[in-house]
């Protein structure tokens, strides 16, 4: 019986190490307030419990808080529709979003909302989005500026972001 016992112990130790390792190396995609996709922080459309609601109701959803903040800061909103099982979303989040041009524009010039299609189908339905990924640009009054369905690479998404920015400014003036 000895060899088998040795195998058992080795395997048990390995499995515990593996479980510990995998839990530690996993990354959080979203919690009750925010989503963290491609290294960028988004408002979780269905999120609650924000400290600063920018004038929206205290129990406002992430979607509503983002609208209020966009109004306060006078910025356009990017709504990103995704799902955990969606391969093109992963491609978008690991390939397009970390691009320095895309990342800096998204973080500085837009208010970002994430809509997890497994969690919040209402917002998706309201905007007629039926599949991920989908990048929708709106104003704080929920006027649609533009939408980009599907995956796009960093170059073309950079120009999309730029033209949405100028369109938003143009409408103001």
């Amino acid at each position: 019986m000895k060899p088998k016992k040795i195998i058992n112990i080795v395997v048990l130790v390995a499995i515990i190490a593996f479980m510990y390792g995998s839990v530690n190396s996993s990354s959080i995609l979203s919690d009750s307030k925010n989503a963290y996709l491609g290294g960028i922080e988004f408002y979780n459309s269905g999120g609650t419990g924000y400290d600063n609601t920018f004038g929206a109701a205290a129990d406002a959803s992430g979607y509503e808080v983002a609208l209020a903040r966009a109004k306060a800061e006078d910025k356009p909103i990017m709504v990103y529709f995704w799902a955990i099982w969606c391969q093109y979303c992963e491609k978008f989040e690991t390939g397009t979003m970390p691009d320095p041009r895309v990342k800096s524009m998204m973080e500085n010039d837009f208010i970002l909302i994430s809509v997890d299609l497994d969690e919040d189908r209402d917002v998706a339905q309201r905007w007629g989005v039926s599949y991920p990924p989908n990048e929708l640009f709106i104003t704080s009054n929920e006027q649609e500026i533009r939408r980009t369905p599907g995956y796009v690479d960093a170059d073309s998404f950079t120009s999309t972001l730029q033209s949405v920015k100028s369109q938003y400014k143009g409408a103001k003036n």
Partner: protein, 782 residues
Amino acid sequence: MVLTDMPLGDTILYFSLLTSVLAIIALALKEYKGNDNIFKAVPTLTRLTAVALVFDILLLAYYFVTSNYTINYVWQYNSNDLAMIYKLAATLAGQQGTYLFWAMMIGLSAWWTGEFHKSDRMVRLTQIITLVVGVYFIIITLVDSPFATIYQLYPDIANNFIPPDGNGLNALLINPWMISHPIIIFIAYGAMVTPFAAAVVFLLTGDKGWMKLALPTSRFTWLFLTLGIAVGGIWAYLVLGWGGFWSWDPVETSSLVPWLMLTAFMHAFSQHRKNPKNFELGAPILACISFVLILFAALVTRSGIFSSIHAFGESPSSNLLFYGVFASALLTLALGVKGYYKKEEVVSAEPETFINRNNIFYATVILLSVLTFISFWGITFPAIAQFLQGVKVSIGLQFFNIWSFPVVILLLLALGLCISYKESEKDMLLKQMLIVAGITVIAGLLRTSAFYVLDHNSPFYVSQPPLYRLIGSISTWALFPSMIYATYSIISAFVGEYPKIKNSAKMLLHRGGVYIIHISIILVLVGAVFSANFTQSYEANIPLSQEGKVVPLQNGYGMKLVDFESGDDATSVNFVGTKIQDILNNPTSYAESVKTSGKVSNIDTKGGFMYMQLTDDTTTMWIASNILDITEGELITAGGTLMFDFSSPSTGVTYPVILFAGEVAPLESSTSSFQKVYLEVYKDNKKIGSGAATYAQYKNGDTSHPMVSRSLLQDEYVIFQGMSGYAVVPLTLKIVPMVNELWIGVILFSLGIVMVMLGAVISPKSPKMKVKNKMKKKRSDK
């Protein structure tokens, strides 16, 4: 609920529930009180249960084929535009139908156990457990019945309302593989009940008779689970956006988990059958865990806790399913603990050597269990995190590859050592294996661009934790030494054994099957590794004007657009409004106002009116309209009033019934339409493949069927997702290497199981042997 209101299908389900419970009582009375009175009825009761459940699933299929939309489940998944075969396939499109099918499989299992085996204690107890599981599935089916009518579920609906059309199948499910995939998977899921039940009885009673019940059924389950997963893989390979034949999606993975566990069981069981002291606890426990994992797979698919592209959404019965998983897991644990402490008292007479065949088998079983656990944990851990903390975590798509990779290498080494193992050549064989292990380490250190376990070019790689990057930096070449070694071992073992088995068809089938199973796994690995690592992709936009010319791409590839077709799929046009036959049958009741639809023909424009014939799938009638932009062959809806015996001054014809249509509109495309491109693929100006890619729009969305031109070493795979607006055909050409080795491997694997199963049923004395024996006799007679 009043009994008369109950749908026929539910009544039959209740009947099967009754016969199952009666059979359980009769079996239990016989077992614990020695009461034979009702026991005599058991064969009849199990037959009735099986017949009732088979009839019930056929009834459901009948409702689908006849498009009975008063049944909610039929309304949900069926629609008029579906071809007959897809209406039939839609029977298993949702969870209600699959539970009924599952219950039926268990009913058949209980019947099989009693019908084909001498009724001893083992058989009776196995039947009890099988039937208890069966009752559980009948209840799950009843809780959310596939037979529930729309009137039961939506009380607001008027009693005589019959929906004219159903909701329809998701466009992605309208695919030939839809016909086979669900049925094969659920045959496997259902058949697993017998190995489980027999194993539980063995753990309780120690009755060695469990092997004769568990052996054929576990092989049967293994065969169908293999085929079901493979068919799912082929389907996913052919559907865009499903990430190829394998993408570690939770639902996909959840079917692999019981397969891996069952594979571990098959190994343990083969040793257990040789000597019941081997894996005395391990074999039955692995059978139990396999069953628990199959229930778990159903839970992954149905509960909505696991985020998957394959998810069917939450269902009311998922709580019941959760209790089932929990209860069976608890039972397995209890039996395991009980068995463990009982077994400790037995003093083993096993030799205390580290390397012997039994220990290599043990290592194999453990490695397969570890592989099972990796996949299990990979889908379960994110679900736990979400359930307990409300956070969504990503373990990364590469999680499975990274962790499974070293285990697969160890398994291949074990395979190479084990399959040609001889106690007498132990030292030499062990040395061989260690050399291969050494070469494996060296191969793992090779610096090979784009052939690492993790793709270094992906930005994803950089963000990985150090341990992942370490394993991810192993060259994929590390897989090959052990692969070649295992292949060599399998072939040399077969060559060595062949003289001993060649005279017995039974042995030839059995041993040959075992060798084929192992060699085909290597083919599957080769196919998976090469196709996943070396697929190239080329984009092309070919204008229609370039039809017939080879358009050059990179690396010497080229594509030629041979032909382009588009149109409506006339067989599946979904005509709305009143059917023309109904109008003509009873014209006076529609005289004031009627709306119908059809295809326009024989247009005659005179006197400011268009006179034309309208044809739907029933018959033809005349209509007239002052809207003059209708074209020949167009599909329209027309609404207006009927005129009788109308003599037209302009055409000079008297129409017995004619519809004057004030409203005319194109028939909305609830019809399906398609675009099809015929293509040829060239490499260095030589044609290497051809075929057609289709883009089709259905009621519930669109699908594209890629062109796949297969050859032994690579597939040419062309994606066409519909025309862009400028008469340009956008195409993506993928060159997928070695993927057919994967499919060939799966076919061989299944063939191997079938051979082993055949070897088990034919008599040990093959015709060859008989002839020889006769000859010997004759000789001795002389």
